[in-house]
């Protein structure tokens, strides 16, 4: 059986006004061979957790520009853990000051991608770090 594609959820928590960057990332990851679930703007942590659970994704990529990352991102990782999704790789990108990164990593974000990160870098990181439980 051919290697099945890695499945990624790209979500935008919070009240950001546009999702151009997230769409570019979604398309870029598709071109890298990922199956990308795209859920659009203004996601609550509950919506993100529900989507991750129902879609059984390997990765959740959170894109956030609004500045609310310190409250929203830990809510997402907490929700994922509560739903039993501890094995999902969670990354974040957008506008996140370096000073905030250690706290986010403590909260369960595996990697924060800064501005200027290429899609190739994101793809490589995911491929290298995704945890897959291939039961079958």
């Amino acid at each position: 059986m051919p290697e099945r594609p890695v499945k990624v959820l790209i979500a935008k928590p919070g009240l950001d006004g546009h999702d151009r960057g997230a769409k570019v990332l979604a398309r870029g990851l598709r071109d890298e061979g990922f199956e990308v679930v795209y859920t659009g703007l203004r996601q609550t942590p509950e919506m993100i957790v529900t989507a991750a659970l129902q879609e059984d994704v390997d990765v959740v990529g959170l894109s956030i520009l609004s500045g609310a990352h310190m409250t929203l991102l830990p809510k997402v990782t907490h929700g994922l853990r509560e739903a039993g999704l501890d094995d999902v790789l969670v990354t974040a990108g957008g506008i996140i000051p370096d000073d905030d990164i250690p706290a986010l990593m403590d909260a369960g974000i595996s990697r924060v991608f800064g501005p200027g990160t290429t899609i190739g870098e994101v793809a490589d990181y995911i491929r290298a770090n995704v945890r897959r439980d291939d039961g079958g």
Binding site: M1, R4, P5, A26, R27, L29, R30, D31, E32, G33, F34, E35, V36, V37, Y38, T39, G40, Q43, T44, E46, M47, V49, T50, A51, L53, Q54, E55, D56, A83, G84, L85, D134, G135, G136
Partner: protein, 359 residues
């Protein structure tokens, strides 16, 4: 591949599962255990297991297969509604509105939303959820996206199997949204109990509709975006066209003929017409359940059930045969056969006959 094969369970003549006693039987047993565990938990209402199981089914793993063996007898009660139509006609928005309508009555609902995979990279964007966000946290709504992974026809290979899992997991109403279709992606009609074709008014020009093989498989046609100008006109044009077709039905005699669908007007955005649409779907389902296998509606229902069974069986057989071609022990013979066919020394028909005879 041969190791997997050795470990695979087979149905014996008594219908019980038997394990091949190969050296890898232990591994096969574990796979089966995992399949059984997921099946039991999913059927008992555990959504995490349901989701995991859908992945196994989608990946067509042994665990998924053994789970399906257990769950298939528990499925069959759900109303499986296929929703198809041109890209952008509003399928996802309409499905979401229908989900909301069903939830008002407390009915659990599941959705399978299919989007195309890139033939080059294998990647896909699964974007239908964007329109279905309002049900987060409602455990009686389960929405799952699937990529086609090379399957043509508007669905993924495992869509029917995934629907059976959702059925067995207790969802009595299941919507399957196909990829945005052209005119030939009508496979959904083969797996769904009821097929809804969604049209937007601006796309409803007659020529397009007549061309579309899509309309021939529709049980219901919904002219969506009824809030837009031209929707009424599009609906009455469609009705007119379909009733002209109906006058020719006698000419078909006993031969299969195109369906003569009901045409409804709705707006997924304002919700107008959505309760009527759900009611029309429910009526069809009830009528099928009540119909005796002989005569009229019952006969048609039975025909479509058998067609679905045949499609599933044929799908699995062709998959098994393909596996067989690639099987470790046969790989050399296969390669030689393929070379002979490619060189036109052997025709593919004789090659296929030979393979079947050797089984």
């Amino acid at each position: 591949m041969s190791a997997e094969r050795a470990g695979r369970g087979h149905d014996g003549p008594d219908g019980k599962e038997h394990l091949d006693q190969g050296p890898e039987a232990g591994e096969g047993g574990r796979t089966q255990d995992r399949g059984r565990e997921l099946a039991e938990k999913a059927a008992a209402g555990d959504r995490r297991s349901l989701s995991r199981l859908l992945t196994e089914v989608e990946n067509r793993t042994r665990a998924g297969e053994s789970a399906l063996r257990l769950l298939y007898p528990r499925a069959g009660a759900a109303h499986l509604v296929g929703v198809t139509g041109a890209p952008g006609s509003g399928k996802s928005t309409l499905v979401s509105a229908l989900v909301g309508e069903a939830r008002k009555a407390g009915r659990p609902v599941a959705v399978l939303a299919i989007d195309p995979s890139s033939p080059i990279t294998g990647g896909a964007i699964l974007g239908d959820r964007v329109r279905m966000q309002s049900y987060a946290g409602d455990r009686d709504v389960f929405i799952r996206s699937m990529a086609t992974r090379g399957h043509l026809g508007g669905l993924a290979t495992s869509t029917a199997a995934a629907a059976a899992v959702l059925d067995a997991a207790g969802f009595p109403l299941i919507f399957v949204e196909t990829v945005g279709t052209g005119q030939s992606e009508v496979e959904v009609a083969a797996i769904a109990d009821t097929t809804v074709v969604v049209q937007a008014p601006e796309m409803g020009d007659e020529v397009q509709a007549i061309k579309a093989g899509l309309l021939e498989v529709a049980d219901l046609v919904v002219v969506n975006k009824g809030d837009r100008p031209g929707a009424d006109r599009a609906a009455s044009q469609l009705r007119g066209m379909l009733s002209v077709g109906a006058q020719h039905d006698r000419a078909f005699g006993d031969r299969p003929r195109p369906k003569r669908p009901e045409v409804l007007l709705a707006s997924a955005v304002t919700g107008k017409g959505v309760p009527e649409l759900l009611a029309a779907l429910d009526r069809r389902h009830l009528a099928r359940l009540r119909a005796s296998p002989e005569g009229g509606a019952g006969e048609a229902a039975e025909r479509s059930r058998l067609a679905r069974a045949e499609a599933q069986l044929a799908g699995i057989l062709s998959e098994r045969l393909r596996d067989l071609l690639r099987d470790g022990e046969r790989v050399e013979t296969t390669r030689a056969t393929l070379r002979a066919i490619a060189a036109h020394e052997l025709d593919p028909y004789s090659a296929a006959d030979r393979l079947l005879a050797s089984l």
